[in-house]
Amino acid sequence: DAGVTQSPTHLIKTRGQQVTLRCSPKSGHDTVSWYQQALGQGPQFIFQYYEEEERQRGNFPDRFSGHQFPNYSSELNVNALLLGDSALYLCASSLVGLPRWDTEAFFGQGTRLTVV
């Protein structure tokens, strides 16, 4: 059973560019969340997608957007990249049809984004 897979693993972009990160959830999971982990810090919640809709959003600007596809995979898009966007971006999947709080989030290995 494949876990959460993210691509690419590493990425270098220039300020002002746009980037797309991809995530395939664990088999059977229907919900995808994205987190940003800056160096030396804990992950910060960006947003969560369920049924192809953004269900909750953290304190991130509109430059950060996402999408969920019918097969539950997801993309994170960041426009007009800033140096401060350099971080490890983590995708987490879970099974939350209704709010089933007895489920845990499984994390991928992350995408290391460096903005130069």
């Binding site: 987190y35 969560q48 909750q56 953290g58 983590l90 987490a92 939350v96 994390f107």
Partner: protein, 113 residues
Amino acid sequence: AQSVTQLDSQVPVFEEAPVELRCNYSSSVSVYLFWYVQYPNQGLQLLLKYLSGSTLVESINGFEAEFNKSQTSFHLRKPSVHISDTAEYFCAVRRSNDYKLSFGAGTTVTVRA
């Protein structure tokens, strides 16, 4: 406002010694609590979780954590650490009226021989 506080940013410890990582949270509603471990250049792995029931939860690799509602704490302990326990440990909270996980800043555990 910081809702999850990990009180120690770095914890050096000798092999086979005990270790305790402290975590406190703030919430006006009921919570679900988690400890995750992150090895260098990797994602997060769930170590253990408290959802309900017994306040003492254990993992398969010897870690345990105790939920203390009155002190709003969820400290992680291991009676005897190994070199392989060297990693970053994150405490996380999910409030019952929320979908997201809120993480602490992490505690770096370095185990020395």
